[in-house]
């Protein structure tokens, strides 16, 4: 009886694992409602302006969006940099003093809530930020 219970327990564990592995195959995709381009003035430790250009699917600039910029290093264990970008108009947004706190590779995530209520997110690699 105890042996059967033990078996059941181990089997349940493995089924759970299998379920997770199956679920893992179910990836998620994002709808691309807008195009975003990003430009970093200087890939250097310290503060630097970062500019974002936001266009809709017809290529028209999108103003009035709420745009946040997030900076992560590629290695876990560091606090991210979270900045709200200023709307300069004509689809241009700027973080005037984005801080690169450490040398290395970064990933910048642009997170935009568009005026039409839609949301779009894009990630950009910023390699080799130097001292």
């Amino acid at each position: 009886m105890a042996r059967r219970k033990d078996d059941a327990r181990v089997v349940c564990y493995m089924l759970f694992m299998l379920l997770c592995a199956v679920l893992a195959g179910c990836g998620r995709t994002q709808q691309a409602d807008a195009t975003i381009s990003l430009k970093v003035a200087q890939s250097k430790v310290g503060t630097t302006p970062v500019d974002v250009q936001l266009h809709d699917s017809k290529g028209e600039p999108v103003s009035g969006a709420s745009v946040k910029l997030r900076g992560d290093m590629t290695h876990a264990g560091m606090q991210p940099v979270l900045v709200t970008m200023d709307d300069l108009g004509n689809g241009q947004y700027r973080a005037a003093n984005f801080p690169f706190g450490m040398a290395g590779d970064w990933v910048l995530t642009v997170d935009a809530d568009l005026p039409d209520g839609k949301h779009v997110e894009r990630m950009f690699d910023v390699r080799d930020v130097k001292e």
Binding site: C20, A24, C26, R28, Q79, M102, A103, D105, T109
Partner: protein
Amino acid sequence: MAVATQRRFDLLRVPLVGRFLRWRHSRTAMQTVLLVLAALILLDGFAGIQIAPRNLAGVLPWVQWRGLLVLALLIGGNFFCMACPFMLPRRLAKKLFPATRAWPRRLRNKWLALALLVLFFWAYEAFDLWASPLLTAWVILAYFVAAFVIDAFFRGAAFCKYVCPVGQFNFVSSLVSPLEVTVRDPNICASCSTKDCITGRSMKSPQPAAHAPAAALGIAAIGVEQVGVGRPASFQPGCELWLFQPQKVGNTDCTFCLDCVHACPYDNVGMLARSRTDELADDARRSGVGRWSTRTDLAVLVVIFVFAAFTNAFGMVAPFYVVQHWFSTMFGPWSVHALFALLLAVLPLLLVGATAWASRMLSGTHDGVVALATRWSYGLVPLGFSMWLAHYLFHFLTGALTFVPVLQEFVARWVGPLLGAPRWDLAALVPQSWLLPVEIVALDGGLLGALMVLYRIARREHAHEATARRAFVPWAVLVVLVFAAGVWLLLQPMDMRGTLRG
């Protein structure tokens, strides 16, 4: 007749904690918790955001697990092998398959595990595992599959003893742990005829005749009282890593599974305190291991463990990329691999070999360099462990709380905002200014421990004190140089580059 051991601190006798550890299902309970975490890591690693700081597969294994691992080894012992979730598929495998084969005799050493450990360290650098949740998930999945497959075919804990790279890291690190699983009173073992600690025992039918020697000592055989009419029948295995308790010395190959504790009918196995340096200078014949002085595979494992600690840390500081750039002018796209081979193979071989040669010349011994290096290498363990400790503690102390917002975001993505908005302001446990002193103190401890052990080895090798001191000097120079390199590393600016998405 052996003298009974003095009373030492025994974790298994501590209220609550000891009771929990003595509970037959404590290991399963801990493994279950880690299994659930592993499942979450796999899910997020395969299907989540592929940025390590925002993924459970990027955060939990490389920040929290590594940090808690070295802390557990420093404060207690090999508790992570005790709680290893890879043992659950292993148990399933042993239920589904006969597992009657003996592990091949040619592979009953550490060479395979060592090769896999080197492969792991190489992959960590070559593929930036710490920056890739997807690759991390694949590595963890591979571990589960490997544990299942190997222990489905082979008897005992072959995966743990001869294959698992993480296990080898834990085994070497636990050589300086303050606790060991060992007998409480050797007199009881001397009169035991059943050797349950290694053969295991059936809990179904007590065997009074077998326990007669214990009864003669006035000791009730534990388990007789526990088994009665209506209680479930089960077999309690003995040590599956073939460590016979009365002849076990220290923590080599011990996974803290406590099978011996549960199997011993006299409750004569405990988790006792010990001096951190005793084991490293002891060349006694160890059950299931033999003499360290004859185990070149073990010595090489130790050397790799030590130099990998410094190589691993070097890979995260700015000067590494200067050196790598210089290497690329000679080796092109193979520069990382060439640098890795230099730091983890060529340099250790040269340094340890030269040190052993110098020690041989100064002491006038006629033993070969390899034999000498084998006997002395264990003295390097404290310094190697201290560098791992400094490195992993750095990441742990700067990012221990980062799992909170990552878990919040993970739950929000799969279920809903049950845990609230992610607290991305949570990260460090201690102020930044504490980090360097903590790391330097750790390295200091490692240097001190290494010097103490090496001197004890010197006195073991040479009865004449002056000869021992001469033999000791080259090894002392080596550890001081390696220590200095470690301090220099810790003072360098970090430059963390890694695999980018896609």
